[in-house]
């Protein structure tokens, strides 16, 4: 049995929601909402309501970056100040906390921001080749529902989509 991938384009957001809601309600047995990917031209509203909670882990990286920035910042600054060949005050090390706090603050943000960025790049599934089914309409004004399913389920799903005024359905076979 071969696996199929379907891409359904809707112009009406509500219909697309309804279609997914149907899948969610197991209208077609064997196809769960977890198989559904929703594509949208805008940051889709109410996406959680439709698809259910899906986890995002970026904030953990951000937190790590912030903590790292502060600790590394302090250790780095203190280390640098202690090993400074030219000691600015009479040959003795000075580790001035007020100015170090300022720099630690900057370093906190610096590392937090970069870690956020990198975690976004990797966690959001960028850098992937777009599937052949990709429609440019998605970047214009249409919502797409993409799902992978067994060949047996394709027809019921297509019917479901038709019921919800799908504009176009694209299909490809993946093994």
């Amino acid at each position: 049995m071969s696996k199929h991938r379907l891409l359904a384009l809707f112009s009406d957001f509500e219909e697309a929601h309804a279609a997914i809601a149907d899948i969610r309600r197991n209208v077609v047995p064997g196809v769960t909402v977890d198989d559904v990917t929703m594509k949208s031209p805008i940051e889709h509203p109410d996406v959680e309501e439709v698809l259910g909670e899906r986890p995002v882990h970026i904030q953990k990286f951000t937190l790590f970056g912030a903590i790292f920035g502060v600790t590394f910042g302090f250790l780095f600054l203190a280390g640098a100040q202690a090993t400074f060949l030219v000691q600015p005050q009479g040959g003795k090390a000075v580790i001035p906390l007020p100015s170090n706090f300022v720099l630690m603050y900057e370093m906190l943000i610096f590392f937090a921001v970069w870690l956020t960025f990198f975690s976004f790049l990797f966690l959001s599934g960028l850098f992937k080749k777009r599937s052949a089914l990709y429609s440019e309409k998605v970047s214009l004004d249409q919502v797409a529902i993409m799902l992978e399913l067994n060949e047996a389920h394709t027809d019921p799903i297509k019917d479901l989509f038709q019921k919800h005024k799908v504009l176009e359905i694209r299909e490809e076979v993946i093994k």
């Binding site: 030219v86 000691q87 600015p88 005050q89 009479g90 003795k92 090390a93």
Partner: protein
């Protein structure tokens, strides 16, 4: 850059902090200038040009305020405001780097090109300077001079370059410079003393300005040496090192002439001036 270095510095720092400050100077080069005998003759200033390879900038650049006189004689008319003549003469003030103990120029340098030496000097590392000029902006005495140009050709046309003092560099454009208390002379004297296994004798280290001063208005020496002439003067006039906060009200006899300029800014200058005296006739 070793662990040793870190630990040593830290332990020194901690030790010093316990003893109420981390200044354990070997020397503390200090000056006293008696304004009563300063006649404003400029000998100190020219001696400084000769000793420290100061560039002559010429009329045009002098007009722009780009002169390089580390030691300048300021002249003020104090009495003259409503009088027909300045009947008590002029007020002369030899102004040079005050080698502040709490120098405002030091913390602002982004690359630590100006720093405090264990001798209590406010040193300027020419090689490290990137020319941000922040130090000069933050100097209340305005005694830091910036090399706005390269002066190799213009200030020392051949064979004048042969006069240059090889003990110190000629500064190129883009570098801040200022009075060093003739650090090259101090260095020589310290080296000699070390070689002869003795301590530096008072009067051995002498800045060019103090040496030239025809009226001996400038006294230079080491205040760590209790017996030095300059120590005696500071003691006599009850002026103490430290910031204003720590010395306020400690002058038992306020009539004594010693004072430091801009004491209220808490910069702890190393130069004590003695007030000018005039007799009302």
């Amino acid at each position: 850059m070793s662990l040793d270095n870190i630990l040593n510095n830290w332990s020194d720092y901690r030790k010093g902090a316990e003893e109420g400050g981390h200044h354990d100077y070997e020397h503390r080069w200090t000056m006293a200038i008696n304004l009563d005998v300063c006649i404003g003759c400029n000998a100190c200033s020219v001696a400084c040009y000769a000793e420290n390879n100061l560039a002559v900038v010429g009329k045009e650049r002098f007009e722009k305020g780009q002169a390089m006189h580390w030691m300048r004689i300021e002249r003020y008319w104090d009495q003259a405001a409503d009088m027909e003549h300045p009947e008590q003469g002029a007020s002369f003030l030899p102004m040079l780097c005050q080698q502040c103990g709490a120098a405002t120029c030091e913390p602002v340098c982004p690359v630590a090109a100006t720093y405090h030496t264990p001798d209590g000097l406010n040193a300027q590392v020419y090689n490290r300077c990137i020319g941000s000029r922040y130090c000069s902006n933050n100097c209340p005495f305005r005694v830091r001079y910036f090399n706005f140009y390269s002066y190799y050709e213009s200030a020392w046309p051949s064979p004048m370059e042969q006069q240059l003092n090889p003990d110190i560099s000629v500064r190129d454009k883009g570098v801040m410079e200022k009075c060093t208390f003739c650090v090259q002379r101090i260095r020589t004297v310290k080296d000699r003393a070390k070689m002869e296994d003795r301590s530096v004798v008072d009067g051995e280290a002498m800045t060019a300005c103090a040496q030239a001063c025809p009226t001996s208005a400038i006294v230079f020496g080491d205040t760590m040496d209790e017996s030095s002439a300059v120590s005696q003067l500071w003691k006599k006039h009850q002026v103490k090192r430290g910031t204003y906060q720590s010395t306020r009200g400690e002058k038992a006899n306020p009539n004594l002439r010693g004072y430091r300029i801009f004491e209220e800014l808490n910069v702890d200058p190393s130069i004590m001036y003695l007030e000018r005296v005039r007799e009302d006739v």
